[in-house]
Amino acid sequence: MADRAGGGLLRGWVDESNAIVTAWQECESRGESEHSARTQFYEKSCKLLQKMHGVPPVSSQVELEMTLVYNTFLFSLTCPQHFDVQENLSRTLIRALEALGSQALTSDLVALWRLVLKTLSDAGFLACVHKLLCVQWALWLSSGHLQNIHCLLLIVTQGETRTPSDDLMTVIRNLGLSSDEKSSLLVAVATSVLKDLLHICTVVAQGIERLRQGSHAEALQAFLHATCLPAPRRLFAQVHTLAGLTFAKLDQPYSALQCNRKALEVDFGCLSALYQSSLIYRGLKKTEAEIEALQLLYSATTLRSNVPPASAVVPLISSDMLLSCKYFKSIITAPSSLHILYSLAHACALHNRFSEAVEHYLDLLALLQSDFMQTVCTEGNVAVFPRIPAVYLEAAFTMLSAKKFWDAAAVCEEVISKTADLIPEKLVLVPLAEEDFPAPAVPSILESTESRRLDRLDCVLWAGASYCLQGHAYYQMKETNESVTIYSRCLNLLAKVSLKRLAIAGQPVGEKDPPKFETLQRLRGLVLAGRGMCFMDQGQWKEALRDLKLSLQTSPGLQNAQYALTEVYWRLGRKEEAITCWKESVIMPVETPSAGDFPLYLQGFSEDSLSFDLNDLRKRMGEVCQTSGLSA
């Protein structure tokens, strides 16, 4: 009697479980499997599972219960709340053991599984147990417990083949799971499909783990293995990208480019491959190709963001859910359009394509101003995005180089207005290693005053650079008076900072100087040179001589200042000094620190910005040197 009643109850539950799956399949086929619908299915199967847990475990129910847990897990993957899947799984396993008369005395999951596989493999529940095994595998994969997966799969394979194997990949390869589906119990996704996905994802996860550990060769091996496995298109492209990245790390750029090309061929949506390619081109100094790649990338991202998110059906199971490792995501996610735009603009500016660069910078500023939300959600970019004032200054520099003086002055004014009034009357800094004090974007009272001072030093540098660029803009516009005023203001500002240079024992002074100090000196040099040239224009040769000499003392290696100084000596009739100065300027570029160490906006300007005829000077000095060389 009780049996019959129990049997009726079981039938009812089986029907209910099947009804849920059928309903889902109908939804899926209609293409309206929305997020909320899946949540409903999840909740329904959870309720049913709770009902079943209400009765004592019976062996006849074990299969149904396990199938239900499997389905619940599948539905839970797209729901944010799937905390209780592991709990449901363990409980079902314990109940199954109890139904068969065994007792689970351990809370360790691996030990529990060993017991389950031993107990239930004989009882003909193998298919169900393997379903749950996949669930456990997926749970551990998404939480990154590769070691546990290895142990679990080893138990299964040892039970079948009895050949001990150490390698996870070999274990997986040898793994044979029972896949005979019982038609009476419906499942949302077949076990074999899930198993295949788990296989490739595990391989990829292991490769990423190796990549992170720095063993690139092993990682490459894993990725190349993964490319041979069946996978969805998206994952396939991602695997190729990863392989490309690994090649790049192994210093095989051309293989890397090949991999990236393959990835893009498989799935053009894999923008990270394109971005990686641009980075490789940059490394190869193929500017054209780099800029082209970035342009392509930018247009792709803008295109994508303009199109509303496709209502493409998100599959019930996908690699994204299983590979939730942040490192993987940071690699595989393309940078935001903002970042791409900046890279593009910066690359253009660096390679003297100023008119293009100006356009890109203007776009960038507009984007920054208009949509602050975009900037918030960019996370995990590989490259460093500079501080906003630096972006403004780079834009101003580019504009100056593109001879858009008024625009440049306006942009500089904007930066000055935001920074100049924060600068104290006196700023004394004892520089420490920069990396100890990352300058905060948001000053907080919890941070030390030292970091606040560093923050203020940033303000000084930004304001100083703005003045410098502004002064140069007026100089170019032949408004030398205005220019001298601005340069003088800038020098006053820079004089407020006094950096105490600490001689670290055993190291020559200056070698370990923080870049900020060098930057400050460079800025001083540039400003002094700029003012000196203004004085030249005004015919104040003595003042020009003083400023230019000071400039070269502060920051040796300013080519334009050297030329100007030669000219000043010449004009003052001090030929000997002019010749010495000229000779220095000729050999100088070899030994000066490369301008690339400094921010873009402190690069200095090209020779054609000089107000005197450089070619004339060259000719003159060449002749003089020849004659003096002959006479000597």
Binding site: T375, V384, Y392, P424, L427, V428, S444
Partner: protein, 811 residues
């Protein structure tokens, strides 16, 4: 004082000033509000109220100023937050464990209240953990929301656009001291830099505009350049989190909200003060944080965090300009957020939710608060005018006049109070001065007198006289009080004269209030001693100064005995000599009434039984007093010789050597003083004496007079020996006691003979008068040469009088 019901300031020193404002109930909710933090939102002439239940009541303004329910929004779970949306009649509603809804109300007032159920599916954002949210940006039908939710042990700050999560960051929850239920709900707002924005623009709730410099200091230069807003969260643990919405940082540094400050108590309100000048955060226990810009020498402009504590708990608060309004459970308080300001109580109790509204009808000069009371009433609180500089600048002239009147009334009131206090102080001073006087006088009179010291500075003397009172002759004593002390005897002092008969225990006390007795002045009072028929001599008169404490406190009706200071002065004796009435030589019968009296007496007395005139057989006593003794007392022999002088001295008025007088009982008395030659003591030839004779038909009169004379002589002897110890003085006293047999007792002491003579005489009279005389004469001739004369009188009737007189004679 509070005539007009307007503001009325107290002195600035007070801890809390008080003001009155007008409160008007607009609507009743029908039940008390029990929610921890009910919500109130006034927008577009509508008021939304959430009491922490599933319903949101929508009130609309009717023609009358009262509000009535227009609609009831019903949600699936309790409503915890209300925020306005950009569109008209649109609101955001946060429900507990559900999410955020955007509700569009039907435009225009509806005649009947409608119930509008809002299904959970209509939520804009579904997330069960959301505790608080703020609308960052609102475009048409798509909004960017910043939410704060409690997930596990961390606060999660998320950004959503069209229900799509853009950003998420979390900070750990600092567990509160008490219960989890006391965790409270967080507050959030969006901060913008106020670049070029017109001040006083209507900020949407939850949006603050800060001065650019302060904004840059708090949120960085990057955010300022981009003019991007920053989200500010006040957590229930008191931390103030900020997140500038430009997260352009390197990948290594994750975007995280940073802690600006910690108030260490749940936050109730975030706002700005004085336009965009300062950021304000108000904590539940009354801590107010004010963040402003300050100039620092070493770091240029820096942000300045200042905290001040007001009396909490703060149930709800709102800001208007730089004025903070907050409600403790008991009172609504306003505080100007500028230094040196005192919280002003508005005397509105049990306000649990506040919202600021402007009344456009009065030109924005009047601040109106919309308040929800715990009892479930929607109230309009109109604030007192003139409490702010802004409103006083625009004060209309009519109101100004009223204000001046109020101020004048207030000034008058303060003056009245001040003057009453002043007079009270003056009274106390006066009392202290008076008590000081009393103490001074007391110390003068009560301190033990040292030898050689002059008499007490305040004395009382007495002189008797006969006068006629109510057709009866009475003996009056005129007491003269002399004040030789440096102190003034103020009103409050009184002279008390106690008259006591030696033979009777009963005493009569007379009290005379002194008006004012300056130093060096004297004052006299008359005390009746008795009429001729009921006078019993001798009398003792004790005088004393009394001070009543009642005079100090001005309550004379109190029992004066309980609060009196009594200072004894002199004690006077009125004896038979004082009571004598001398017969005038011209009219020996005396005054006319004396004649009448005598006539009346003669009628009742049989003639011959007891004669009026002293005749033979009457009683007689004689007393010899040495001349030297008298000489020291008398100024000189006088006109009538020594005898007259002695009598004049004794009677206190100039009389001849022989006078007749009447004693109070009416008997005639003859007094005579004759110089006698020293017959008995022949050895001492120089010693002359005066014999005093008393003769009367009345035995009592003779005895009384004899006693009186003896007393005076003794007193003078005593004084004499004190003052002339070096002189050759011999005192010889003869006592004659007359009985029926006219006995003479002669006591004689010489240098050579030493004897002790004791004489006891008991005389029994019909009037049972017992007079015991004990004379103890001791003369020791030996080298000590001390003569001790002890004399004891024992009058035994009802009173015992003992007089021990010691005479020291030293050669």
């Amino acid at each position: 004082m509070k005539k007009s019901g307007r503001c009325d300031w107290l002195a600035p020193g007070a801890t809390m000033a008080s003001a009155r404002c007008s409160v008007r109930t607009l609507a009743g909710l029908g039940s008390a509000v029990s929610a921890r933090r009910p919500r109130l939102l006034a927008r577009d002439s509508r008021v939304l109220v959430a009491r922490g239940e599933r319903e949101v009541l929508v009130f609309g303004r009717q023609e009358s100023a009262l509000l009535s329910v227009e609609a009831v929004l019903q949600f699936d779970s309790a409503v915890t937050l209300l925020l306005p949306a950009a569109g008209r009649h649109q609101f955001y509603v946060l429900c507990e464990n559900a999410g955020i809804h955007r509700v569009t109300l039907p435009p225009g007032p509806s005649p009947d209240p409608v119930l509008l159920p809002v299904p959970p599916e209509a939520a804009v954002l579904r997330d069960e953990g959301i505790c608080c949210f703020v609308v960052v940006e609102e475009a048409v039908a798509e909004e960017t929301l910043a939410t704060l939710s409690l997930r596990g042990a961390s606060w999660v700050l998320s950004l959503y656009k069209r229900a799509e999560k853009l950003f998420e960051s979390s900070v750990l929850v600092v567990p509160p001291q008490g219960d989890r239920a006391e965790l409270g709900s967080p507050v959030m707002c969006v901060v913008h830099p106020s670049d070029g924005a017109a001040p006083g623009r209507t900020d949407p709730p939850g949006h603050l505009y800060l001065e650019p410099v302060l904004y840059r200091l708090l949120f960085g230069v990057d955010a300022a350049l981009l003019r991007c807003p920053a989200v500010l969260c006040g957590l229930p643990d008191g931390r103030l989190l900020c997140l500038p919405l430009c997260g352009l940082r390197s990948s290594e540094q994750k975007v995280r909200p940073s802690v600006l400050h910690s108030l260490e108590q749940p936050l109730v309100l975030l706002g700005t003060s004085g336009g965009p000048q300062g950021l304000v955060a108000v904590g539940q226990q009354g801590r107010v944080l004010l963040v402003t810009t300050r100039d620092s020498d070493s770091e240029g402009k820096v942000e300045d965090f200042r905290e001040l504590d007001v009396r909490g708990p703060v149930a709800c608060a709102c800001l208007d300009g730089s004025r903070l309004y907050y409600s403790t459970a008991a009172d609504l308080v306003t505080l100007q957020l500028t230094p040196g300001q005192v919280p002003v109580s508005l005397n509105v109790s049990r306000v649990t939710a506040l919202s600021l509204t402007w009344n456009p009808a009065e030109g924005g000069a009047v601040v109106e608060l919309l308040a929800l009371s715990l009892t479930g009433q929607l109230q309009k609180v109109t604030l007192p005018q003139g409490s702010e500089a802004r409103s006083s600048a625009r004060l209309p002239s009519t109101l100004a006049g009223q204000r001046v009147k109020d101020l004048l009334a207030a000034i008058g009131d303060v003056w009245v109070r001040a003057s009453s206090l002043k007079s009270s102080v003056k009274d106390r001073k006066e009392v202290l001065r008076l008590l000081n006087q009393v103490l001074n006088v007391s110390s003068l009179l009560l301190s033990p007198r040292k030898a050689g010291e002059a008499a007490r500075p305040i004395t009382c003397h007495g002189v008797t006289s006969w006068s006629s009172v109510l057709q009866e002759d009475a003996l009056m004593l005129r007491c003269t009080l002399e004040n030789h002390s440096p102190h003034v005897l103020e009103p409050g002092w009184s002279l008390s004269v106690q008259v006591q008969s030696v033979s009777r225990s009963a005493a009569v006390t007379h009290s005379f209030v002194l008006q004012k007795l300056e130093p060096g002045r004297r004052t006299g009072v008359d005390v009746p001693l008795g009429t001729a028929c009921d006078l019993t001599l001798p009398l003792q008169v004790h005088t004393s100064l009394m001070f009543s404490m009642g005079a100090v406190w001005g309550s004379s009706e109190e029992n004066p005995q309980l609060s009196c200071v009594g200072l004894p002065l002199n004690t006077l004796v009125v004896d038979w000599l004082d009571g004598l009435r001398l017969d005038r030589p011209s009219s020996p019968a005396g005054s006319s009434d004396f004649l009448v009296q005598r006539f009346l007496r003669s009628r009742g007395v049989t003639s011959g039984e007891r004669g009026q005139e002293p005749g033979p057989g009457s009683y007689r006593a004689a007393l010899k007093v040495s001349r030297e003794l008298l000489a020291s007392r008398l100024k000189g022999p006088g006109r009538g010789g020594l005898g007259a002088a002695v009598l004049t001295w004794l009677l206190g008025q100039p009389v001849p050597a022989r006078v007749s007088a009447h004693c109070p009982s009416g008997h005639c008395v003859q007094l005579a003083a004759n110089e006698v030659a020293p017959s008995d003591c022949s050895q001492d030839a120089v010693m002359a004496a005066v014999e005093l004779q008393v003769e009367s038909s009345s035995m009592a009169a003779v005895c009384g007079l004899h006693h009186a004379i003896l007393r005076r002589v003794q007193v003078h002897t005593h004084i004499h020996t004190h003052t002339h110890t070096h002189a050759h003085t011999c005192t010889r006293t003869r006592t004659y006691i007359h009985t029926h047999t006219h006995t003479r007792t002669y006591i004689h002491t010489t240098h050579t003979h030493a004897h002790t003579y004791t004489h006891t005489h008991i005389h029994t009279h019909t009037r049972t008068y017992i007079h015991t005389h004990t004379h103890a004469h001791t003369y020791t001739h030996t080298h000590t040469r001390t003569y001790i004369h002890t004399r004891t009188y024992i009058h035994t009737r009802t009173h015992t009088h003992t007089l021990i007189h010691t005479l020291t004679y030293t050669r």
